[in-house]
Protein backbone atom coordinates (compact mmCIF):
# COMPACT_ATOMS: atom_id res chain seq x y z
CA UNK A 1 0.00 0.00 0.00
CA UNK A 2 2.68 2.47 1.05
CA UNK A 3 4.70 1.75 -2.07
CA UNK A 4 1.86 2.85 -4.32
CA UNK A 5 1.23 6.14 -2.50
CA UNK A 6 2.41 9.22 -4.36
CA UNK A 7 2.66 11.05 -1.06
CA UNK A 8 2.32 9.68 2.43
CA UNK A 9 2.18 12.04 5.40
CA UNK A 10 2.87 10.50 8.78
CA UNK A 11 2.24 12.68 11.80
CA UNK A 12 3.39 15.75 9.88
CA UNK A 13 3.34 18.92 11.92
CA UNK A 14 4.55 22.36 10.96
CA UNK A 15 5.14 25.35 13.14
CA UNK A 16 6.70 28.74 12.49
CA UNK A 17 7.95 30.92 15.31
CA UNK A 18 6.16 28.75 17.87
CA UNK A 19 2.83 29.15 16.11
CA UNK A 20 1.46 25.86 14.93
CA UNK A 21 0.40 26.20 11.30
CA UNK A 22 -0.39 22.54 10.74
CA UNK A 23 -1.42 20.16 13.51
CA UNK A 24 -0.24 16.56 13.10
CA UNK A 25 -1.58 15.20 9.85
CA UNK A 26 -1.75 11.62 8.61
CA UNK A 27 -2.82 11.20 5.04
CA UNK A 28 -2.16 9.16 1.95
CA UNK A 29 -2.33 10.39 -1.61
CA UNK A 30 -2.87 7.28 -3.69
CA UNK A 31 -0.89 7.28 -6.92
CA UNK A 32 -2.73 7.99 -10.16
CA UNK A 33 -5.50 10.05 -8.58
CA UNK A 34 -6.43 13.72 -8.84
CA UNK A 35 -6.66 14.98 -5.28
CA UNK A 36 -8.05 18.39 -4.38
CA UNK A 37 -6.63 20.22 -1.39
CA UNK A 38 -9.49 22.30 -0.03
CA UNK A 39 -10.18 24.68 2.82
CA UNK A 40 -10.82 28.31 3.65
CA UNK A 41 -8.10 30.97 3.47
CA UNK A 42 -5.39 30.46 6.07
CA UNK A 43 -6.29 26.81 6.61
CA UNK A 44 -2.74 25.74 5.73
CA UNK A 45 -3.30 24.46 2.17
CA UNK A 46 -0.30 26.17 0.63
CA UNK A 47 1.88 25.19 3.59
CA UNK A 48 0.89 21.56 3.16
CA UNK A 49 1.62 21.74 -0.56
CA UNK A 50 5.02 23.31 0.13
CA UNK A 51 5.79 20.53 2.61
CA UNK A 52 4.91 17.95 -0.06
CA UNK A 53 7.12 19.86 -2.54
CA UNK A 54 10.05 19.75 -0.11
CA UNK A 55 10.16 23.52 -0.09
CA UNK A 56 9.46 23.56 3.66
CA UNK A 57 10.69 21.01 6.19
CA UNK A 58 8.12 19.62 8.63
CA UNK A 59 8.74 20.47 12.29
CA UNK A 60 8.11 16.82 13.06
CA UNK A 61 6.79 13.77 11.24
CA UNK A 62 7.68 12.11 7.96
CA UNK A 63 6.78 12.72 4.33
CA UNK A 64 7.31 9.93 1.83
CA UNK A 65 7.20 10.49 -1.90
CA UNK A 66 6.64 7.29 -3.90
CA UNK A 67 7.67 5.22 -0.90
CA UNK A 68 10.90 7.04 -0.16
CA UNK A 69 11.45 9.77 2.42
CA UNK A 70 11.50 13.17 0.73
CA UNK A 71 14.89 14.00 2.27
CA UNK A 72 16.41 10.77 0.86
CA UNK A 73 15.66 11.65 -2.75
CA UNK A 74 18.48 12.80 -4.98
CA UNK A 75 17.35 16.30 -5.97
CA UNK A 76 17.75 15.61 -9.70
CA UNK A 77 15.85 12.31 -9.60
CA UNK A 78 13.04 13.92 -7.65
CA UNK A 79 12.90 16.88 -10.06
CA UNK A 80 12.40 14.49 -13.00
CA UNK A 81 9.37 12.93 -11.29
CA UNK A 82 7.80 15.76 -9.35
CA UNK A 83 6.93 19.19 -10.74
CA UNK A 84 5.34 22.13 -8.98
CA UNK A 85 3.19 24.93 -10.35
CA UNK A 86 3.57 27.83 -7.90
CA UNK A 87 0.73 30.14 -7.00
CA UNK A 88 2.48 33.17 -8.41
CA UNK A 89 5.65 33.62 -10.33
CA UNK A 90 8.07 36.45 -9.75
CA UNK A 91 9.52 36.22 -13.26
CA UNK A 92 9.92 39.78 -14.54
CA UNK A 93 12.55 39.34 -17.21
CA UNK A 94 11.66 39.37 -20.91
CA UNK A 95 12.41 35.72 -21.69
CA UNK A 96 10.76 34.18 -24.69
CA UNK A 97 8.01 31.66 -23.90
CA UNK A 98 10.13 28.83 -25.31
CA UNK A 99 13.03 29.77 -23.02
CA UNK A 100 10.86 29.80 -19.89
CA UNK A 101 9.44 26.38 -20.74
CA UNK A 102 12.88 24.99 -21.58
CA UNK A 103 14.00 25.82 -18.02
CA UNK A 104 11.70 22.98 -17.00
CA UNK A 105 14.12 20.59 -18.76
CA UNK A 106 17.01 21.71 -16.51
CA UNK A 107 17.03 18.44 -14.52
CA UNK A 108 17.28 16.39 -17.74
CA UNK A 109 20.48 15.44 -19.57
CA UNK A 110 19.79 17.78 -22.53
CA UNK A 111 19.39 20.77 -20.19
CA UNK A 112 16.63 22.05 -22.48
CA UNK A 113 18.71 22.15 -25.64
CA UNK A 114 18.53 18.63 -27.06
CA UNK A 115 16.24 17.60 -29.90
CA UNK A 116 14.19 15.48 -27.51
CA UNK A 117 13.76 18.49 -25.24
CA UNK A 118 12.50 20.62 -28.15
CA UNK A 119 10.01 17.89 -29.02
CA UNK A 120 8.66 17.81 -25.44
CA UNK A 121 8.53 21.62 -25.31
CA UNK A 122 6.50 21.84 -28.52
CA UNK A 123 4.18 19.10 -27.26
CA UNK A 124 3.39 20.71 -23.90
CA UNK A 125 2.95 24.15 -25.46
CA UNK A 126 0.25 22.85 -27.74
CA UNK A 127 -1.21 20.88 -24.84
CA UNK A 128 -1.73 24.04 -22.75
CA UNK A 129 -3.01 25.90 -25.82
CA UNK A 130 0.04 28.04 -26.43
CA UNK A 131 1.19 26.62 -29.75
CA UNK A 132 2.61 29.45 -31.83
CA UNK A 133 3.62 31.43 -28.72
CA UNK A 134 7.22 30.06 -28.73
CA UNK A 135 8.90 33.32 -29.67
CA UNK A 136 6.58 35.72 -27.83
CA UNK A 137 8.07 37.58 -24.88
CA UNK A 138 6.83 36.24 -21.56
CA UNK A 139 6.45 39.77 -20.14
CA UNK A 140 4.09 40.74 -22.98
CA UNK A 141 1.57 37.99 -22.16
CA UNK A 142 -1.62 38.31 -20.12
CA UNK A 143 -1.76 36.92 -16.58
CA UNK A 144 -3.65 33.85 -17.72
CA UNK A 145 -1.21 33.15 -20.55
CA UNK A 146 1.73 33.53 -18.15
CA UNK A 147 0.08 31.03 -15.82
CA UNK A 148 -0.22 28.56 -18.69
CA UNK A 149 3.45 29.10 -19.60
CA UNK A 150 4.38 28.00 -16.09
CA UNK A 151 2.02 25.05 -16.32
CA UNK A 152 3.82 24.05 -19.52
CA UNK A 153 7.14 24.43 -17.70
CA UNK A 154 5.90 22.12 -14.93
CA UNK A 155 4.57 19.58 -17.45
CA UNK A 156 7.75 19.50 -19.50
CA UNK A 157 9.75 18.85 -16.33
CA UNK A 158 8.14 15.42 -15.87
CA UNK A 159 7.60 14.73 -19.59
CA UNK A 160 9.26 11.58 -20.88
CA UNK A 161 9.07 9.77 -17.55
CA UNK A 162 6.71 6.93 -16.63
CA UNK A 163 3.43 8.73 -15.83
CA UNK A 164 2.68 6.35 -12.97
CA UNK A 165 5.84 7.52 -11.25
CA UNK A 166 5.17 11.22 -11.69
CA UNK A 167 3.58 13.73 -9.37
CA UNK A 168 2.28 17.18 -10.21
CA UNK A 169 1.64 19.70 -7.42
CA UNK A 170 -0.56 22.62 -8.44
CA UNK A 171 -0.97 25.59 -6.10
CA UNK A 172 -4.22 27.32 -7.09
CA UNK A 173 -3.77 26.59 -10.80
CA UNK A 174 -7.02 28.38 -11.68
CA UNK A 175 -5.85 31.75 -10.30
CA UNK A 176 -6.10 34.60 -12.81
CA UNK A 177 -7.95 32.43 -15.28
CA UNK A 178 -11.34 33.00 -16.83
CA UNK A 179 -14.04 30.37 -16.57
CA UNK A 180 -13.18 28.58 -19.81
CA UNK A 181 -9.50 28.38 -18.96
CA UNK A 182 -10.22 27.20 -15.40
CA UNK A 183 -12.04 24.26 -16.89
CA UNK A 184 -9.44 23.64 -19.57
CA UNK A 185 -6.66 23.51 -16.94
CA UNK A 186 -8.58 21.04 -14.80
CA UNK A 187 -9.50 19.02 -17.86
CA UNK A 188 -5.80 18.89 -18.62
CA UNK A 189 -5.05 17.79 -15.04
CA UNK A 190 -7.75 15.14 -15.40
CA UNK A 191 -6.17 13.98 -18.66
CA UNK A 192 -2.80 13.63 -16.95
CA UNK A 193 -4.44 11.67 -14.16
CA UNK A 194 -5.97 9.36 -16.78
CA UNK A 195 -2.45 8.73 -18.08
CA UNK A 196 -1.44 7.72 -14.57
CA UNK A 197 0.13 10.90 -13.21
CA UNK A 198 -0.71 11.71 -9.59
CA UNK A 199 -1.99 15.25 -9.19
CA UNK A 200 -2.48 17.31 -6.02
CA UNK A 201 -4.16 20.67 -6.59
CA UNK A 202 -5.06 23.45 -4.20
CA UNK A 203 -8.50 24.63 -5.30
CA UNK A 204 -10.94 27.25 -4.09
CA UNK A 205 -14.00 26.53 -6.20
CA UNK A 206 -15.69 23.55 -4.58
CA UNK A 207 -17.91 22.84 -7.57
CA UNK A 208 -14.88 22.83 -9.86
CA UNK A 209 -13.20 20.41 -7.45
CA UNK A 210 -16.32 18.23 -7.37
CA UNK A 211 -16.38 18.09 -11.16
CA UNK A 212 -12.79 17.00 -11.72
CA UNK A 213 -11.16 15.59 -8.56
CA UNK A 214 -11.26 11.99 -7.35
CA UNK A 215 -10.31 12.62 -3.74
CA UNK A 216 -10.11 15.58 -1.41
CA UNK A 217 -8.24 16.69 1.68
CA UNK A 218 -10.21 19.25 3.66
CA UNK A 219 -8.22 21.53 5.94
CA UNK A 220 -9.56 23.92 8.54
CA UNK A 221 -7.44 25.97 10.93
CA UNK A 222 -4.40 23.82 10.37
CA UNK A 223 -6.19 20.53 10.98
CA UNK A 224 -7.14 17.86 8.48
CA UNK A 225 -10.91 17.66 8.90
CA UNK A 226 -11.73 15.01 6.35
CA UNK A 227 -10.15 13.09 3.55
CA UNK A 228 -11.34 10.53 1.06
CA UNK A 229 -13.48 10.45 -2.06
CA UNK A 230 -14.48 14.02 -2.83
CA UNK A 231 -18.22 13.35 -2.95
CA UNK A 232 -18.04 12.14 0.65
CA UNK A 233 -15.74 14.93 1.89
CA UNK A 234 -17.76 17.73 0.33
CA UNK A 235 -20.98 17.03 2.15
CA UNK A 236 -23.03 19.87 3.67
CA UNK A 237 -21.86 18.97 7.20
CA UNK A 238 -18.15 19.47 6.55
CA UNK A 239 -18.63 22.46 4.28
CA UNK A 240 -20.70 24.24 6.91
CA UNK A 241 -18.14 23.38 9.60
CA UNK A 242 -15.10 24.54 7.64
CA UNK A 243 -16.44 27.38 5.53
CA UNK A 244 -19.27 28.50 7.81
CA UNK A 245 -21.60 28.53 4.82
CA UNK A 246 -24.94 26.82 4.59
CA UNK A 247 -25.04 24.69 1.48
CA UNK A 248 -27.36 22.39 -0.40
CA UNK A 249 -26.33 19.48 -2.52
CA UNK A 250 -28.35 19.02 -5.65
CA UNK A 251 -28.18 16.27 -8.19
CA UNK A 252 -28.75 17.35 -11.73
CA UNK A 253 -30.16 14.93 -14.23
CA UNK A 254 -27.40 13.55 -16.45
CA UNK A 255 -24.62 14.59 -14.09
CA UNK A 256 -22.84 11.88 -12.16
CA UNK A 257 -21.70 14.18 -9.39
CA UNK A 258 -23.67 16.47 -7.07
CA UNK A 259 -23.49 20.25 -7.30
CA UNK A 260 -23.34 22.62 -4.40
CA UNK A 261 -25.65 25.58 -4.02
CA UNK A 262 -24.69 28.13 -1.39
CA UNK A 263 -27.59 29.87 0.29
CA UNK A 264 -27.90 32.54 2.92
CA UNK A 265 -30.58 30.49 4.72
CA UNK A 266 -29.27 27.43 6.52
CA UNK A 267 -30.97 24.19 5.52
CA UNK A 268 -31.36 21.51 8.16
CA UNK A 269 -28.10 19.62 7.80
CA UNK A 270 -26.83 19.40 11.34
CA UNK A 271 -26.73 15.65 11.14
CA UNK A 272 -23.15 14.38 11.04
CA UNK A 273 -22.41 12.24 7.97
CA UNK A 274 -22.76 8.50 8.31
CA UNK A 275 -19.06 7.89 7.63
CA UNK A 276 -16.88 9.18 10.42
CA UNK A 277 -14.01 11.51 9.48
CA UNK A 278 -11.47 9.32 11.28
CA UNK A 279 -12.40 6.36 9.17
CA UNK A 280 -11.99 8.48 6.03
CA UNK A 281 -8.65 9.84 7.10
CA UNK A 282 -7.25 6.35 7.51
CA UNK A 283 -8.30 5.00 4.15
Amino acid sequence: MAATAAIQLRDVRFERRRTTILHPIDAILPAGRLTALLGPNGAGKSTLLKLCAGELQPSSGHIDCFGRALADWNSGDLARRRAVLPQQSGLRFPFRVEEVVSLGRSPHPGRGRSREDSRHIAAVLSRVGLAGFEHRLYTSLSGGEQQRVHLARALVQIAGGKPAQCLLLLDEPTNNLDLAHQHSILKLARGLRDEGVSVLAVLHDLNLALTYADDALLLHQGRLQASGPITEVLCPYWIQRCFGLPVRQIHLAGSARPHLIFEPVAPATDQPPSTSPVALANR
Binding site: A79, R80, G90, L91, P94, F95, E99, L137
Partner: protein, 349 residues
Protein backbone atom coordinates in the same frame (compact mmCIF):
# COMPACT_ATOMS: atom_id res chain seq x y z
CA UNK B 1 14.51 43.93 -30.41
CA UNK B 2 15.07 40.93 -28.17
CA UNK B 3 12.56 38.92 -30.15
CA UNK B 4 14.19 39.76 -33.47
CA UNK B 5 17.75 39.06 -32.28
CA UNK B 6 16.87 35.87 -30.44
CA UNK B 7 14.70 34.44 -33.20
CA UNK B 8 17.44 34.78 -35.78
CA UNK B 9 20.08 33.56 -33.34
CA UNK B 10 22.12 36.73 -33.80
CA UNK B 11 23.74 36.63 -30.35
CA UNK B 12 27.01 35.02 -31.53
CA UNK B 13 27.34 37.76 -34.16
CA UNK B 14 26.70 40.32 -31.41
CA UNK B 15 29.44 38.81 -29.26
CA UNK B 16 31.89 39.07 -32.18
CA UNK B 17 30.87 42.66 -32.78
CA UNK B 18 31.49 43.53 -29.11
CA UNK B 19 34.87 41.79 -29.24
CA UNK B 20 35.88 43.82 -32.30
CA UNK B 21 34.76 47.05 -30.60
CA UNK B 22 36.84 46.12 -27.55
CA UNK B 23 39.89 45.55 -29.77
CA UNK B 24 39.41 48.91 -31.47
CA UNK B 25 39.08 50.67 -28.09
CA UNK B 26 42.20 48.91 -26.80
CA UNK B 27 44.12 49.89 -29.93
CA UNK B 28 43.10 53.55 -29.55
CA UNK B 29 44.08 53.59 -25.87
CA UNK B 30 47.49 52.10 -26.69
CA UNK B 31 48.28 54.34 -29.66
CA UNK B 32 47.00 57.79 -28.68
CA UNK B 33 48.47 60.08 -26.07
CA UNK B 34 51.26 62.61 -25.49
CA UNK B 35 53.61 60.13 -27.19
CA UNK B 36 51.64 58.73 -30.09
CA UNK B 37 52.55 55.36 -31.53
CA UNK B 38 52.05 54.61 -35.23
CA UNK B 39 49.96 51.46 -35.88
CA UNK B 40 52.99 49.64 -37.35
CA UNK B 41 55.19 50.52 -34.36
CA UNK B 42 52.42 49.51 -31.95
CA UNK B 43 51.97 46.14 -33.63
CA UNK B 44 55.70 45.46 -33.53
CA UNK B 45 55.78 46.43 -29.86
CA UNK B 46 52.87 44.13 -29.11
CA UNK B 47 54.39 41.09 -30.81
CA UNK B 48 57.57 41.59 -28.79
CA UNK B 49 59.94 43.24 -31.27
CA UNK B 50 61.28 45.61 -28.66
CA UNK B 51 64.09 46.88 -30.90
CA UNK B 52 61.59 48.57 -33.25
CA UNK B 53 60.68 51.05 -30.51
CA UNK B 54 62.90 53.80 -29.14
CA UNK B 55 63.44 53.85 -25.34
CA UNK B 56 60.73 56.45 -24.69
CA UNK B 57 58.19 54.51 -26.75
CA UNK B 58 59.19 51.33 -24.93
CA UNK B 59 58.60 52.76 -21.48
CA UNK B 60 55.33 54.42 -22.56
CA UNK B 61 53.98 51.20 -24.06
CA UNK B 62 55.20 48.61 -21.56
CA UNK B 63 55.12 50.55 -18.29
CA UNK B 64 52.22 52.94 -18.78
CA UNK B 65 49.75 52.08 -21.51
CA UNK B 66 49.72 48.28 -21.53
CA UNK B 67 49.13 47.90 -17.78
CA UNK B 68 46.52 50.62 -18.00
CA UNK B 69 44.67 48.91 -20.86
CA UNK B 70 44.98 45.54 -19.11
CA UNK B 71 43.51 47.06 -15.95
CA UNK B 72 40.70 48.63 -17.99
CA UNK B 73 39.82 45.32 -19.62
CA UNK B 74 39.98 43.39 -16.33
CA UNK B 75 38.03 45.91 -14.27
CA UNK B 76 35.44 46.63 -16.96
CA UNK B 77 34.85 42.94 -17.64
CA UNK B 78 34.58 42.14 -13.92
CA UNK B 79 32.10 44.94 -13.27
CA UNK B 80 30.01 43.93 -16.28
CA UNK B 81 29.92 40.20 -15.63
CA UNK B 82 29.54 40.48 -11.85
CA UNK B 83 26.82 43.09 -12.26
CA UNK B 84 24.93 40.66 -14.51
CA UNK B 85 25.44 37.79 -12.04
CA UNK B 86 24.30 39.84 -9.04
CA UNK B 87 21.22 41.10 -10.88
CA UNK B 88 20.39 37.48 -11.63
CA UNK B 89 20.98 36.41 -8.05
CA UNK B 90 18.66 39.11 -6.72
CA UNK B 91 16.22 38.71 -9.62
CA UNK B 92 16.24 42.48 -9.77
CA UNK B 93 17.93 44.55 -12.46
CA UNK B 94 18.73 47.24 -9.90
CA UNK B 95 21.10 45.02 -7.94
CA UNK B 96 24.80 45.40 -8.47
CA UNK B 97 27.90 44.77 -6.36
CA UNK B 98 28.01 48.42 -5.36
CA UNK B 99 24.53 48.04 -3.99
CA UNK B 100 25.21 45.13 -1.66
CA UNK B 101 28.20 46.87 -0.09
CA UNK B 102 31.22 45.20 -1.71
CA UNK B 103 32.50 48.44 -3.21
CA UNK B 104 31.93 50.42 -0.01
CA UNK B 105 33.64 47.69 2.00
CA UNK B 106 36.60 47.74 -0.39
CA UNK B 107 36.78 51.53 -0.16
CA UNK B 108 36.80 51.34 3.62
CA UNK B 109 39.56 48.72 3.56
CA UNK B 110 41.68 50.93 1.30
CA UNK B 111 41.20 54.05 3.39
CA UNK B 112 42.01 52.18 6.59
CA UNK B 113 45.20 50.83 5.01
CA UNK B 114 46.31 54.19 3.61
CA UNK B 115 45.67 55.92 6.93
CA UNK B 116 47.25 53.16 8.94
CA UNK B 117 50.25 52.85 6.60
CA UNK B 118 51.72 56.00 8.15
CA UNK B 119 52.40 54.20 11.41
CA UNK B 120 50.98 50.73 12.03
CA UNK B 121 51.85 49.16 8.66
CA UNK B 122 55.01 51.16 8.07
CA UNK B 123 56.99 47.93 8.09
CA UNK B 124 55.11 46.54 5.09
CA UNK B 125 57.25 47.19 2.05
CA UNK B 126 58.53 45.62 -1.15
CA UNK B 127 56.36 42.94 -2.76
CA UNK B 128 54.20 42.78 0.33
CA UNK B 129 53.62 46.51 0.04
CA UNK B 130 52.35 46.15 -3.53
CA UNK B 131 49.84 43.59 -2.45
CA UNK B 132 48.82 45.31 0.76
CA UNK B 133 46.43 47.91 -0.70
CA UNK B 134 44.49 45.51 -2.95
CA UNK B 135 44.50 42.95 -0.17
CA UNK B 136 42.94 45.39 2.25
CA UNK B 137 40.33 46.43 -0.33
CA UNK B 138 39.53 42.83 -0.97
CA UNK B 139 39.29 41.98 2.73
CA UNK B 140 36.93 44.91 3.19
CA UNK B 141 34.76 43.74 0.30
CA UNK B 142 34.69 40.10 1.40
CA UNK B 143 33.97 40.96 5.03
CA UNK B 144 31.08 43.18 3.98
CA UNK B 145 29.62 40.52 1.72
CA UNK B 146 29.97 37.82 4.36
CA UNK B 147 28.27 40.02 6.94
CA UNK B 148 25.57 40.92 4.45
CA UNK B 149 24.93 37.29 3.63
CA UNK B 150 24.65 36.55 7.36
CA UNK B 151 22.11 39.31 7.86
CA UNK B 152 20.05 38.41 4.83
CA UNK B 153 19.97 34.64 5.37
CA UNK B 154 16.90 33.66 7.32
CA UNK B 155 16.55 29.96 8.13
CA UNK B 156 19.09 29.07 5.48
CA UNK B 157 17.46 31.04 2.70
CA UNK B 158 18.39 34.46 1.36
CA UNK B 159 15.62 37.01 1.59
CA UNK B 160 16.28 39.31 -1.32
CA UNK B 161 14.46 42.37 0.01
CA UNK B 162 16.31 42.16 3.33
CA UNK B 163 19.61 41.81 1.51
CA UNK B 164 18.97 44.90 -0.61
CA UNK B 165 17.86 46.97 2.38
CA UNK B 166 20.79 45.74 4.46
CA UNK B 167 23.02 46.81 1.56
CA UNK B 168 21.70 50.34 1.82
CA UNK B 169 22.30 50.43 5.59
CA UNK B 170 25.80 48.93 5.28
CA UNK B 171 26.72 51.32 2.49
CA UNK B 172 25.86 54.32 4.59
CA UNK B 173 27.58 52.89 7.68
CA UNK B 174 30.79 52.21 5.75
CA UNK B 175 30.50 55.60 4.09
CA UNK B 176 30.37 57.18 7.55
CA UNK B 177 33.44 55.17 8.61
CA UNK B 178 35.33 56.23 5.49
CA UNK B 179 34.29 59.84 6.06
CA UNK B 180 35.55 59.71 9.63
CA UNK B 181 38.97 58.46 8.54
CA UNK B 182 39.07 61.16 5.84
CA UNK B 183 38.25 63.81 8.42
CA UNK B 184 41.40 62.97 10.39
CA UNK B 185 43.71 62.89 7.37
CA UNK B 186 46.32 65.33 6.12
CA UNK B 187 46.27 66.92 2.67
CA UNK B 188 48.50 64.34 1.05
CA UNK B 189 46.40 61.42 2.24
CA UNK B 190 43.23 63.25 1.24
CA UNK B 191 44.41 63.57 -2.35
CA UNK B 192 45.21 59.86 -2.48
CA UNK B 193 41.81 59.00 -1.05
CA UNK B 194 39.94 61.27 -3.43
CA UNK B 195 41.69 59.80 -6.42
CA UNK B 196 40.81 56.35 -5.20
CA UNK B 197 37.17 57.19 -4.48
CA UNK B 198 36.68 58.75 -7.93
CA UNK B 199 38.23 55.80 -9.72
CA UNK B 200 41.21 55.73 -12.06
CA UNK B 201 43.06 53.20 -14.16
CA UNK B 202 46.32 55.14 -13.92
CA UNK B 203 47.58 53.46 -10.74
CA UNK B 204 47.74 49.93 -12.06
CA UNK B 205 51.18 48.30 -12.25
CA UNK B 206 52.06 44.80 -13.47
CA UNK B 207 52.52 43.39 -9.94
CA UNK B 208 49.18 44.86 -8.85
CA UNK B 209 47.53 43.38 -11.94
CA UNK B 210 49.01 39.98 -11.13
CA UNK B 211 47.77 40.14 -7.56
CA UNK B 212 44.26 41.17 -8.64
CA UNK B 213 44.09 38.51 -11.38
CA UNK B 214 44.38 35.77 -8.76
CA UNK B 215 41.08 36.91 -7.30
CA UNK B 216 39.40 37.86 -10.57
CA UNK B 217 40.12 34.71 -12.56
CA UNK B 218 37.74 32.47 -10.56
CA UNK B 219 34.84 34.75 -11.55
CA UNK B 220 35.65 34.38 -15.26
CA UNK B 221 36.04 30.61 -14.92
CA UNK B 222 33.07 29.89 -12.64
CA UNK B 223 30.35 32.34 -13.71
CA UNK B 224 29.85 30.94 -17.26
CA UNK B 225 29.04 27.53 -15.70
CA UNK B 226 26.34 29.26 -13.66
CA UNK B 227 24.40 30.57 -16.67
CA UNK B 228 21.68 27.92 -16.54
CA UNK B 229 21.39 28.18 -12.76
CA UNK B 230 21.01 31.96 -12.95
CA UNK B 231 18.30 31.58 -15.61
CA UNK B 232 16.38 29.20 -13.34
CA UNK B 233 16.90 31.50 -10.38
CA UNK B 234 15.08 34.29 -12.25
CA UNK B 235 11.92 32.17 -11.86
CA UNK B 236 12.27 32.38 -8.07
CA UNK B 237 14.17 30.52 -5.37
CA UNK B 238 11.42 27.97 -4.74
CA UNK B 239 11.11 27.27 -8.47
CA UNK B 240 14.86 26.77 -8.79
CA UNK B 241 14.68 24.36 -5.86
CA UNK B 242 11.85 22.43 -7.57
CA UNK B 243 14.06 22.09 -10.63
CA UNK B 244 16.48 20.10 -8.49
CA UNK B 245 19.15 22.80 -8.24
CA UNK B 246 21.33 22.79 -5.08
CA UNK B 247 20.30 26.35 -4.37
CA UNK B 248 22.13 27.31 -1.16
CA UNK B 249 25.46 25.88 -2.35
CA UNK B 250 25.28 27.66 -5.69
CA UNK B 251 24.33 30.96 -4.07
CA UNK B 252 27.24 30.73 -1.65
CA UNK B 253 29.76 30.11 -4.45
CA UNK B 254 28.26 32.89 -6.53
CA UNK B 255 28.46 35.46 -3.73
CA UNK B 256 32.01 34.51 -2.78
CA UNK B 257 33.33 34.57 -6.35
CA UNK B 258 31.71 37.90 -7.23
CA UNK B 259 32.76 39.56 -3.96
CA UNK B 260 36.38 38.53 -4.49
CA UNK B 261 36.42 39.73 -8.10
CA UNK B 262 34.72 43.05 -7.43
CA UNK B 263 36.94 43.71 -4.38
CA UNK B 264 40.05 43.02 -6.45
CA UNK B 265 38.78 45.23 -9.28
CA UNK B 266 38.09 48.03 -6.82
CA UNK B 267 41.63 47.76 -5.44
CA UNK B 268 42.97 48.19 -8.99
CA UNK B 269 40.87 51.11 -10.11
CA UNK B 270 38.90 52.43 -7.17
CA UNK B 271 35.19 53.03 -7.25
CA UNK B 272 33.91 53.02 -10.82
CA UNK B 273 30.23 53.65 -10.71
CA UNK B 274 27.27 52.55 -12.80
CA UNK B 275 29.17 50.15 -15.06
CA UNK B 276 27.91 47.10 -13.16
CA UNK B 277 24.38 48.44 -13.34
CA UNK B 278 24.12 49.83 -16.85
CA UNK B 279 26.17 47.34 -18.89
CA UNK B 280 24.06 44.22 -18.19
CA UNK B 281 21.02 46.36 -18.81
CA UNK B 282 22.14 47.41 -22.26
CA UNK B 283 23.17 43.86 -23.16
CA UNK B 284 19.83 42.49 -21.96
CA UNK B 285 17.96 44.93 -24.21
CA UNK B 286 19.56 43.35 -27.25
CA UNK B 287 20.50 39.76 -26.32
CA UNK B 288 17.58 39.01 -24.01
CA UNK B 289 17.84 38.00 -20.35
CA UNK B 290 19.35 34.52 -20.87
CA UNK B 291 22.68 34.37 -19.04
CA UNK B 292 24.35 32.21 -21.67
CA UNK B 293 24.80 35.35 -23.80
CA UNK B 294 24.29 38.00 -21.13
CA UNK B 295 27.43 37.07 -19.16
CA UNK B 296 29.99 37.14 -22.02
CA UNK B 297 28.21 40.13 -23.60
CA UNK B 298 28.38 42.09 -20.34
CA UNK B 299 32.07 41.25 -19.86
CA UNK B 300 32.96 42.46 -23.38
CA UNK B 301 30.79 45.57 -23.31
CA UNK B 302 31.98 46.46 -19.77
CA UNK B 303 35.62 46.23 -20.85
CA UNK B 304 35.00 48.16 -24.07
CA UNK B 305 33.01 50.93 -22.36
CA UNK B 306 35.57 51.37 -19.59
CA UNK B 307 38.41 51.62 -22.13
CA UNK B 308 36.38 54.12 -24.15
CA UNK B 309 35.65 56.18 -21.03
CA UNK B 310 39.32 56.05 -20.04
CA UNK B 311 40.35 57.17 -23.53
CA UNK B 312 37.96 60.10 -23.22
CA UNK B 313 39.23 60.90 -19.68
CA UNK B 314 42.83 61.01 -20.89
CA UNK B 315 42.31 63.02 -24.06
CA UNK B 316 39.47 65.46 -23.47
CA UNK B 317 41.40 67.81 -21.18
CA UNK B 318 44.96 66.76 -22.09
CA UNK B 319 47.50 67.08 -20.64
CA UNK B 320 45.28 67.00 -17.53
CA UNK B 321 43.55 63.70 -16.81
CA UNK B 322 40.00 63.35 -15.54
CA UNK B 323 39.14 60.51 -13.13
CA UNK B 324 37.50 57.80 -15.25
CA UNK B 325 34.91 57.11 -12.52
CA UNK B 326 33.54 60.59 -13.10
CA UNK B 327 33.10 59.83 -16.81
CA UNK B 328 31.36 56.48 -16.27
CA UNK B 329 29.01 58.02 -13.71
CA UNK B 330 28.31 61.01 -15.97
CA UNK B 331 27.43 58.69 -18.87
CA UNK B 332 25.89 55.94 -16.77
CA UNK B 333 23.44 57.94 -14.71
CA UNK B 334 21.59 59.54 -17.66
CA UNK B 335 21.47 56.20 -19.51
CA UNK B 336 20.06 54.65 -16.38
CA UNK B 337 17.45 57.38 -16.00
CA UNK B 338 16.37 56.96 -19.59
CA UNK B 339 16.02 53.22 -19.04
CA UNK B 340 13.91 53.90 -15.97
CA UNK B 341 11.61 56.22 -17.87
CA UNK B 342 11.41 54.22 -21.10
CA UNK B 343 8.28 52.30 -20.21
CA UNK B 344 10.22 49.28 -18.99
CA UNK B 345 9.61 50.50 -15.47
CA UNK B 346 7.64 47.40 -14.64
CA UNK B 347 10.86 45.44 -14.88
CA UNK B 348 12.26 47.02 -11.76
CA UNK B 349 9.62 46.38 -9.16
Amino acid sequence: MIEAVARRGLQPAGIWLLAVLLLVAAGLCLAVGPVSLAPATLLQGLVGRVSALDPIEQSVLYSIRLPRVAAGILVGAVLGVCGAAMQGLFRNPLADPGLIGVTAGAAFGCVVYLKGAAFAFAGISGVLGTFALPAFALLGGLATTALMYRIASVEGRTVVAVMLLAGIALNSLLGAGTGLVLFFSDDDQLRQFTFWTLGSLGHATWPMLGAALVFILPAFLVLPCFARFLDALLLGEAEALHLGIPLQQMKRILILVTAAAVGAAASLAGGIGFLGLVVPHLVRQVFGPGHRWLLPGSALLGAGLLLGADFFARTVAAPAELPVGVITAAIGAPVFFSLLLSGRRSVFF
